[in-house]
Symmetry: C2
Subunit: 635 residues, 2 copies
Amino acid sequence: MSLRPTLDFLLYDWLDAESLSQRERFSDHSRETFDAVLDTCERIAREKYAPANRIVDTQEPHFDGEKVVLPQATHDAHKAFVESGMMSAAQDYDIGGMQLPYTLQAAANSFFAMASVSIGSNMLTSGNANLLMVHGTEMQKEVFAKNEFSGRWAGTMCLSEPQAGSSLSDVATRAVPDGDGYQGDPLGPRYRLTGNKMWISAGDHELTENIVHIVLAKIPDANGKLVPGTRGISLFIVPKWLVNVENPHPGPLPQAGEGEAGSVKVTLGSRNDVALAGLNHKLGWRGTTNTLLNFGEGKYPVDGKAGAVGYLVGEPGKGLHCMFHMMNEARIGVGTAATMLGMAGYHASLDYAKTRPQGRLVKKAEQPGTAVAKDSASPQVRIIEHADVRRMLLAQKAYCEGALALELYCARLVDEQKTGNAQAADDARLLLEVLTPIAKSWPSEWCLEANSLAIQVHGGYGYTRDFPVEQYWRDNRLNMIHEGTHGIQAADLLGRKVLMEKGRGLQLLGGRIAETIGHAAKVPALAAHARALDAAWQRIGSATQAAWSTGDPADALANAVPYMQAFGHTVLAWIWLDVARRALEIDADKARAVTAGKIGATDYFFHYELPKIGAWLNVVESRDPTCTALPEDAF
Amino acid sequence: MSLRPTLDFLLYDWLDAESLSQRERFSDHSRETFDAVLDTCERIAREKYAPANRIVDTQEPHFDGEKVVLPQATHDAHKAFVESGMMSAAQDYDIGGMQLPYTLQAAANSFFAMASVSIGSNMLTSGNANLLMVHGTEMQKEVFAKNEFSGRWAGTMCLSEPQAGSSLSDVATRAVPDGDGYQGDPLGPRYRLTGNKMWISAGDHELTENIVHIVLAKIPDANGKLVPGTRGISLFIVPKWLVNVENPHPGPLPQAGEGEAGSVKVTLGSRNDVALAGLNHKLGWRGTTNTLLNFGEGKYPVDGKAGAVGYLVGEPGKGLHCMFHMMNEARIGVGTAATMLGMAGYHASLDYAKTRPQGRLVKKAEQPGTAVAKDSASPQVRIIEHADVRRMLLAQKAYCEGALALELYCARLVDEQKTGNAQAADDARLLLEVLTPIAKSWPSEWCLEANSLAIQVHGGYGYTRDFPVEQYWRDNRLNMIHEGTHGIQAADLLGRKVLMEKGRGLQLLGGRIAETIGHAAKVPALAAHARALDAAWQRIGSATQAAWSTGDPADALANAVPYMQAFGHTVLAWIWLDVARRALEIDADKARAVTAGKIGATDYFFHYELPKIGAWLNVVESRDPTCTALPEDAF
């Protein structure tokens, strides 16, 4: 079973992605070039990623005393991805990119996430390089970003520390100027960093000849003190291996695998003072190394002294600001990963349900309403014929295809933000602010639930490692944690996003929802759903006001997660209604199975899921203090 | 942090377990002897089970070509359990038991489930032996049951087959009479069995010198055909090693480890024709071997021919009837296991939350309602101070302590059924019929959710194998599958239990609920909850009627799982209200932390959980056909 019909419907029929090729930046593109990209990624995912998914789970990364060892399959997958050019797909032609819309890049990446979510950490590398393209100097782009886009080097994001996970303001890694001439380094102002960074994905490996760490650290003030809070955070490039730059004249991006960036000749120098302090052994997502790194502990002294050499990116104290630039795309990436893990489980359990015979259908017994009969002499039926298995499959479909629609909608907003007219771009920016916490959190909760249902459909077999669904479930459990936990997303949504610019983001979203309701209300099959969505959105609005009615964030945010759950379900109901509206616009008679499927999933979502928001909003509206008020010793 | 205060409250303050000692069967017992049992089990669980829990997860059972190898820790835990006498704790004195109430046995077993759920498979052994005590011949009890109670041998239940998991009517294992004199064997009518049994827990190991399999099989009719359906199922004892019986005069149970059962001398003979065909490699619950066994494939011929020797238990064709006898206790056992895994995660995450510093509390910013401020210069707070962490902890408490209360309530009903007066015993029987599907399913769903919250409280650390919570979550995922899946439980509840005896079970439960409501309505702090419970129960009643209003089980059962979820939440609301009522009866001023905790969890349950039933019952009441009606190609 292929993902392609679903993707094609969402991209072309629903989001009209083809129209992006009318924009100047994408004017060389067409449905044909888009399809070629999808074909290539689908093929690489099928050939290099999917067959390795169990291998990377069982052959967990290990440290042999000198280097981190990954399975050969990981090297092969990395090579195939780099050769596809996808690492820089969205970049400008003049640095070797394809100027592909982000919408298509996100769609193409969904194949990889579905086939083996953890084998590649390319999102980190391209995210890292994208950040440098925005905030780095020309030389930093030339030396670091371009070598990342070409796949010669890999990238990381070093934010968390053992004592500072969700609380980045407590970052304690120190960066001090490296000698008197520190400002004259061609790679940027040169500092020495000391500190420990935790949860660093792809923090050490041999997939590439070098690893470019982007590190949050604080520059001490004149008294040697670190500025409290996030204001003090600066951003540094800290390569695993120091680099020598000769003939520093920036030029076009080299082809993958070449040793030179344009006319700037870059060679590796000695080891920088970044040491692997440990590998984290995870529940899932094992294809990606996850590390504790010690910066500047003196294991690899540079010029005879301890301290990791790092080059400042952007202004001192503006580090988090630079990072936030990347946040939306990273969070859409996590949401897409969660979605595609859910989708993988949905497809696996659907295949299983269509072929596994077990049990028989219930039928009316002679005494109505008193008993249930089964005809035990007849052959067993396939389990997809059982009502409860169908419920579990349709729930998965509604969660995962709905989530994919949301992620692609958000990706489309990213393109709008970058290439739309001023008003459209600004609207897209603001909509993304509001929708991103949902795009990140909703799939990480509900597509995980989908994975649990996929196990359940398989029965005992689903609980064994002979079937892939248990791994999907384990892998997916990460997504509620990394890139901002569920609690952080909820506080961001209710504490910041719905308030910002005097609630204009919320109003904008309300406008889009009203538009869908307006269309759907005229379609008999969808009119009831349109009314239900209207009521749900009204209630989100009043709950938002009720939460903030005392003006005290402690009251408002006491139930931020239930608020986000209700908000997310309402957004998904809107997405489904809009998908259904469009499906019926194209195929009013539901002649195509894909149309019937979209309408079925929409009906499921409105009947089984949307009504859940009442329970969540109750506690938001009353600013329920049960949890906050309980004395600690009563837990 | 100890489980004991919670157990003591539930057992003594709430269920008045002490009063059981006024019954003849338990008249030697007292609070003192009950406490001694709890002390012993708590100690063994702490010393022998808890330290081995990660060991049994990482040192998964493996087959060395000859035998199944388990960690030494498993052998040690088994030995300590056997020596405690808990295997036969509920049995009569005259066969070496303690005549302990089942309520106390269930409470005592909760320590083991919490410390290491999978290390012991004793529930299977005692369940197997209990079944033989009811349905076996004197000689079968003497030879098999007594050697299981003494811990000399272990037991299994062989029900499922690769093609017959949930659908037991499709069992295809054949049993044919073993020669002309087959009826004269002192161990029972002797048959030869051939077939494959899947998912057999503790199906092979070296913990004991022999393993007593209880096997479902069908005896072919005169034409060699198997009777379709469950009517054709018979029950057989199939020992791994054949046994020789000398001097067959039944007498008292031997002490653990002795080689004789009373005056019946039992020695091991040759290997029976039961072969290990494979070990299942599971997501969790790895301390217990799980096997595919081939019966009668000829690997170990007996008297020169293939076929596993088995001895008929009870009447031919009544096998499933005999098994059902054990079903309630087995399902309460699964519910308790799920509950205690949840509890283990709750305690671990509560400890973590009390000590882990991270972040700061939100406070009112200068512009009310527009922003949130934090004082980044102040020290970080412990995460238990954050509202969302408190919500996740209180949810776990409400799920797990509520589930434990339900399991103990059901265990108390088992005692009532066995030792109460005729009316009370019959009421208890019928209440158990209705409550057992909830006791099995509810904790397996919601204490699994608790385990997910425990991971979330730990953040990234919870996703690593350095903390125990990820294992609890993996272990717990089994409980929605084994001993009747969620779907099977739901069909049992709505398709059989609420209808049986013209709905008398439902009425009985309604009476108990009304009693609690009557008491709670008079307590100001609980009056609103009493009204909410009353409304919920009314709605369960009307939803039950609406589901069955067409008399067609296909309509009624289309949404059996949402029905069971709503039913379960309503039952738990009742349990919590009754616990809260009792807590305030003892300590009206909430002077004790335990009282405040019970009231807090009750408030949580009524505010955050009970309102969820609306969404579930909507689709039940409308007999929503969305899932059943969708064409297969539209999935």
